[in-house]
């Protein structure tokens, strides 16, 4: 099964990565008739994706009583965004900020590590011949299908024997494995780095590692960003792993922290003020990734197009 994945996924490119940026659709541009009907339809669909986020924003400007008494999709009551933010960042001695920082650290360290490991492995698979290559690559591809949860429990037990649970490492180390990242980097490196260039560097007397650092990495830019973003979002959004690995709330990432706030809010009847805190916290927590997406989406897509899943 594992070995049958790859031919289905990777079909021959046409000139490869180098072609990607410059290949605008100019080659195929019939009169570009815009369709009003399609435009209206698509923008109506966009509402479905955007309105919940709009609701989240609007609700984070309301205090708890307005939350229950005014129409959800529009502002109402006093504008309490600042009050909510103040509560959010001071609740339990400012633990929310701590959670945000934890998330940043876990996500960036994991993504950087996972990208480096995946890039080295993908480069090796793409550019070298060695005994056992086929077996190792098949194992990597097969691992894409291993359900993380089958692993989370035994990993937890192993980590607790090693005394690693309830430390940042418990979240970071398991997130360093990215079989899909290896796969993406292999396909990307195969196209992006011409064999001739490597040969030329060898003739010049450069060692294999220098070639990788100075020639390889430079040409792998968009692929690197893609793998980095994939790993970043995966760790940023992860809930299951930190939930089981961490006990101290000072180590929680934002996902586990918010879930805890929420269950406190819905459990404690007296502490209803917390609902507006949970909502404001949710809103603040998604801002960094949303902003990152706005700025990086160009890379994201070009990396996927040329390196990942071309048809």
């Amino acid at each position: 099964m594992t070995s049958s994945v790859s031919p289905a996924l990777v079909t021959p490119g046409d000139g490869g990565a180098a072609a990607a940026p410059g290949r605008s659709r100019s080659r195929y541009a019939p009169g570009k008739r815009r369709s009003i009907l399609l435009t209206v339809l698509l923008w109506l669909c966009v509402l479905y994706f955007v309105l919940p986020l709009w609701w989240l924003f609007v609700s984070s400007t309301k205090n708890n009583s307005a939350l229950f008494s005014t129409f959800g999709m529009w502002f109402g009551g006093d504008f309490s965004l600042w009050d909510n933010l103040q509560t959010l960042f001071t609740v339990r001695d400012g633990i929310f900020l701590r959670w945000m920082l934890n998330t940043f650290v876990y996500a960036f360290v994991s993504a950087a590590g996972a990208t480096l490991l995946a890039t080295m492995a993908g480069y090796s698979f793409a550019k070298y011949d060695f005994p056992g290559k086929k077996v190792l690559f098949s194992a990597t591809l097969g691992a894409v299908m291993i359900p993380l949860t089958a692993l989370a429990l035994p990993t937890y037990l192993l980590f607790s024997q090693a005394g690693l649970t309830d430390t940042p490492w418990a979240v970071i180390i398991p997130s360093l494995v990215s079989p899909f990242g290896v796969y993406l980097m292999r396909v990307y490196a195969a196209d992006a780095i011409p064999d001739g260039l490597i040969e030329a560097a060898r003739v010049d007397g450069a060692g294999e590692f220098r070639i990788f650092w100075q020639v390889g990495l430079r040409l792998l830019g968009p692929g690197l960003v893609t793998v980095f973003l994939f790993s970043l979002v995966a760790t940023w959004n992860n809930y299951f792993l930190p939930l089981i690995m961490l006990n101290s709330s000072s180590l929680y990432p934002i996902t586990v922290g918010l879930a805890q706030l929420q269950s406190a809010a819905s459990a404690g009847g007296g502490s209803q003020a917390l609902f507006s805190t949970v909502i404001t916290g949710s809103f603040v927590s998604i801002l960094p990734l949303v902003i990152a997406f706005l700025f990086l989406q160009r890379y994201w897509q070009s990396g996927l197009a040329s390196g990942g899943v071309k048809g």
């Binding site: 570009k32 919940p52 809930y239 819905s266 996927l304 899943v309």
Partner: protein, 319 residues
């Protein structure tokens, strides 16, 4: 070798030279190749293979009040396969897969094709806004939709009451699965759309030329050129969706807080395994459940792939 023809073509054709002692240069390259692989495979072994084997090992034992851990053979598996809670959970995620995944991937494909045709105004904005929910963690998405579904101050209920339809109950035992499908669809349509869209953008131009000469319309073009050309990307999204739906965890565990009657502790197999391990302390049984779930996912992925390859072959024969 199982990879693309483009890769194999780079190597010199013909049989490999039966040269026993490899040249020093080749040996050096080989050593470098293994060194590049080493860090990844160290983590791969310790974080994937070892836990997997350990889970398999754990699942073969039973913990008794007297005598501690006792070898139990396949008893845990026998128990799992006759445990209605596990089987119902499995049926539930199976249903989830059959209903939600076609809707999600269908929408994603529609959006990707519509954007690729460049016939809508503001395509770039549309693409970005549909993609946006992917930046929202499942936890936040579930919390948010939980509020939106709320019978008191949820805006859907507010609107519904305003037009005289009464208060819809999204959190009842009958409707919770559908409500969950909606959350997952909202989260992942954009992600799948981007994968498909990226594949569409890299279809080589020659493929269009024939169709253009034929004077094919947009729908014919989509059906007979674009969709077959991005089959690998479609396959990828499908496999990811198999894994995603069978592993559902964050959504049920968070909805449990607001709809405790609708979400049992075995609502999805994954949530069940978690509750068994960390609430009931039945580690061995939980390991067996997790292992079985993994096997089910592998089998479903295998058949999904098989189906994909078969229809591809059929299509080749036709054309």
């Amino acid at each position: 070798m199982s990879h693309s023809p483009a890769l194999t073509a780079e190597r010199p054709a013909g049989p490999p030279l039966p040269k026993r002692p490899t040249s020093p240069a080749k040996r050096k390259q080989r050593r470098a190749a293994y060194l590049f692989l080493l860090p990844f495979f160290v983590v791969f072994l310790s974080m994937l293979v070892v836990p997997l084997v350990y889970a398999g090992y754990l699942s073969l034992f039973e913990s008794k009040l007297i005598g501690g851990e006792v070898f139990a053979g396949l008893a845990n598996y026998a128990r799992a396969l006759t445990d209605p809670a596990f089987l119902e959970g499995l049926g539930r995620v199976g249903l989830f897969f059959i209903i939600q995944v076609p809707i999600m991937l269908g929408l994603a494909l529609f959006f990707a094709l519509a954007l690729d045709s460049a016939r809508a105004h503001g395509s770039k904005g549309i693409r970005l806004l549909i993609y946006m929910p992917y930046a929202v963690p499942a936890v936040v998405a579930t919390l948010m939709w939980g509020y939106l579904y709320g019978p008191d101050f949820g805006p859907i209920a507010q609107i519904s009451r305003a037009v005289g339809l009464g208060t819809p109950d999204f959190l009842s035992p009958e409707s919770i699965l559908g409500s969950m499908m909606n959350i997952v669809t909202w989260e992942f349509v954009g992600y799948n759309m981007i994968i498909m869209y990226a594949a569409l953008r890299s279809i080589p131009g020659e493929l269009y030329e024939a169709a253009e000469i034929d004077g094919a319309g947009q729908f014919r073009l989509a059906w007979s050129v674009k969709i077959p050309a991005i089959r690998p990307a479609l396959m990828l999204t499908l496999i990811f969706s198999v894994i995603g739906s069978f592993q559902l965890f964050a959504e049920p565990s968070l909805l449990n807080a607001i709809a405790p009657d609708a979400i049992t502790n075995s609502f999805t197999p994954n949530y069940y395994a978690y509750n068994l391990a960390f609430i009931n302390q039945e580690l061995n049984f939980a390991a067996a459940i997790a292992f079985l779930l993994g096997i089910v996912i592998a089998i479903v992925s295998y058949f999904v792939q098989l189906g994909g390859e078969r229809s591809e072959r059929r299509e080749r024969k036709l054309s």
